[in-house]
């Protein structure tokens, strides 16, 4: 294991700080501990892959990191702000400004052309219409789809759709790019394509957190965190092997 991409405290600003985070789901009389005492620190500019088999809790971790769900115990600071204390409206604002999501299913709205999908987060941020269009087109150009701005998702290939989704994630200039199995629905060529794009974005300073269960996808990241049974099993960055 290498510690080359490690993050000794104090070297860079911490973007993500999880301390003793637990998440318990209650389904009827059953209580399921999806996360148990997770401590995790991710610094700005890192490219981290979170790995684990299904049911390991990696999706729950991704939801907590993405402020889509709130931890039951422990604390989560994103860019210095305590997310655990936020209400729905504030969480929505954090998702809008600080996090760009990329999903396995792309989650593009099929009734809108690509550029309008990309501008959607900006409209929730209250950006004026003309500026929104400019920024959406710039983001599409950034992912190499400037010529496809007026195409609807149905007229694009899987790889192109995922690139539109990445453009949408980038358009608000978020601190964190959170990709949940971004290549899960793509063929190998498109996978290479998307991973190259993510690596390129990271090289330009964007923090990328990638959730996957595929080793070769995780290999693209400079740090791999493995989750098993709701706990961190290994972390190449921290050099911890439990």
């Amino acid at each position: 294991m290498t510690t080359a991409a490690g993050s000794p405290p104090g070297r860079a600003e911490a973007l993500i700080e999880l301390v003793g985070v637990g998440k318990t789901y209650r389904s009827g009389p059953l209580e399921v501990d999806a996360l148990r005492g997770v401590d995790l620190r991710i610094d700005e500019g890192e490219y981290v892959a979170i790995m684990g088999p299904s049911g390991s809790g990696k999706s729950t971790l991704m939801h907590v990191l993405g402020c889509l769900d709130v931890a039951s115990t422990g604390s989560y600071r994103l860019a210095g702000a305590d997310v655990g204390q936020m209400d729905e409206e504030e969480l929505a604002a954090v998702r809008n400004r600080r996090i760009g999501f990329v999903f396995q299913q792309f989650n593009l709205l099929s009734s809108m052309p690509a550029w309008r999908n990309v501008e959607l987060p900006l409209s929730y941020a209250g950006v004026a219409r003309a500026e929104r269009r400019d920024r959406a087109l710039a983001a599409l150009a950034r992912v190499g789809l400037a010529a496809r701005a007026e195409h609807r998702p149905g007229e694009l290939s899987g790889g192109q759709q995922q690139r539109v989704a990445i453009a949408r994630a980038l358009v608000t200039e978020p601190a964190l790019l959170l990709a949940d199995e971004p290549t899960g629905n793509l063929d190998s060529a498109a996978t290479t394509d998307v991973l190259a794009l993510l690596a390129e974005l990271n090289a330009l300073g964007r923090t990328v957190v990638l959730i996957t269960h595929e080793e070769d996808v995780a290999a693209a990241a400079s740090r791999v965190v493995r989750i098993l049974d709701g706990e961190i099993h290994s972390d190449t960055g921290a050099g911890v092997a439990a």
Partner: protein, 410 residues
């Protein structure tokens, strides 16, 4: 996300499901059209009735005999007694007694057969005084109306309604001709200008005689001094209540009535007739409108149904929008606006259909249907409100969805 933005999003959503949106709107559309039609029909009826009652004459009071009470205590219907006399009319005509009464016209009337040559026509024969023309707002088209001399001289003259004249004399000249009223020959001295007909009586089909002539020659017997109705015209609309009071007081004194409950006469004002008629047409409109409103309600439930389906179907979209930063209130607003847009579109289409149907139907049934601008605007506003009201529940369901649950659903 500002309102314009939200409305655009709502409109896009409505447009992207054309068939479904169309069917939902249909419910609202039919409801709005039905309400507009029934309200229009009611207003049309009201307008007709009002103009008919106003045509009776202005500032009019009508004194009719009260009810009789038999020995066994059974009270007859209003007008069953013959307690009004010519003396009452004469008293009311006195300026000292009733200063606010401008004109008085006592009348007797009965249905009689009129003949002229071979023509035979049965109509209402009215015995009255020259004041009748002014009080009832009648004018003569040909010849003259009755004069005071006709009354004092018991002249055998008659003024015919326009319909009566043409029934008896065809299109020919009526003035100067002789007509037999109940077998008594009378000279036609005038023909009334048309006043139009109401549902109850045809104002253009009558024969008017001097009161005295009618009493002597047509009515006869002990009833000859009895009067069936006394028409009073108040000097102005302002003094109508005064005229009413004066007439009431004078008749109460003349008839030696101690308890007002025993009054053997009734005074009706034009306004009270109008009020009664309006109350009836108003109630009718309310009932019909109520039935139509139920269909509107059903349309609203349709909106709710479709919006709930829409929320369930677009659960992923809602999750995505939340992940991208939409707050619960933005999501709620989006679905509310969508429901409102459905209501608005249904309302506008319903108003157009209602207006068109009113136009066609009023020609088909010959009854005016009033489509007024306030009602049309009101209908559209109501349609939007229905969309919004029935959209509240689906919208808050969408707003409450947890983003992960929404994203997770396949």
């Amino acid at each position: 996300m500002n309102w314009r933005e939200t409305i655009r999003t709502g409109w896009d959503a409505v447009r992207s499901h054309r068939l479904r949106s169309g069917l939902t709107m249909l419910g609202i559309l039919i409801g709005i059209a039905a309400v507009m039609l029934t309200v229009g029909l009611g207003q049309g009826a009201q307008r007709t009735v009002t103009s008919q009652i106003n045509a009776l004459g202005s500032n009019l009071l009508v004194v009719t005999p009260g009810s009789t009470t038999g020995a066994n205590g059974v009270r007859g219907g209003a007008g069953s007694a013959s307690t009004l006399t010519l003396a009452d009319a004469t008293a009311l005509a006195s300026h000292d007694v009733a200063p606010d009464v401008a004109a008085v016209a006592p009348t007797v009337q009965r249905s009689e057969a009129l003949t002229a040559g071979t023509a035979n026509w049965t109509t209402t024969v009215v015995g009255t005084t020259p004041e009748y023309a002014g009080v009832r707002a009648r004018t003569v088209a040909e010849g003259r109306f009755l004069t005071t001399d006709d009354v004092t001289a018991h002249s055998p003259v008659v003024v015919l309604g326009s319909v009566t004249a043409s029934e008896l004399f065809g299109g020919g000249q009526a003035v100067g001709r002789t007509v037999n009223v109940a077998g008594v020959p009378m000279t036609v001295v005038g023909v009334l200008a048309s006043a139009g007909s109401s549902a109850a009586t045809n104002q253009d089909d009558q024969a008017i005689l001097p009161f005295t002539t009618a009493a002597d020659r047509i009515i006869g017997g002990s009833a000859r001094t009895a009067v069936q109705a006394i028409y009073l015209q108040a000097a102005s609309n302002e003094v109508l209540p005064g005229a009413y009071q004066e007439a009431d007081a004078e008749l109460t004194a003349l008839h030696r009535i101690t308890d007002p409950a025993d009054a053997d006469f009734t005074i009706t004002s034009q306004q009270s007739i109008l009020d009664t008629a309006n109350a009836i047409t108003g109630a009718l409109t309310a009932v019909l409108g109520g039935i139509a409103a139920i269909s509107l309600l059903v349309g609203g439930i349709g909106v709710m149904n479709i919006m709930l389906v829409s929320v369930t179907e677009r659960i992923r979209e809602i999750g995505l929008r939340k992940a991208l930063g939409a707050t619960p209130s933005v999501i709620r607003r989006q679905f509310l606006v969508e429901a409102g847009v459905l209501g608005l579109a249904g309302g506008v289409a319903g108003a157009i259909l209602g207006g068109l149907a009113a136009f066609l139907l009023s020609h088909a049934i010959g009854q005016p249907i009033v489509v007024s601008v306030p009602v049309t605007i009101g209908a559209i506003v109501v349609a939007i409100a229905i969309g919004l009201v029935f959209g509240v529940y689906p919208a808050s369901r969408a707003a409450r969805l947890a983003p992960i649950d929404a994203l997770r659903s396949e």
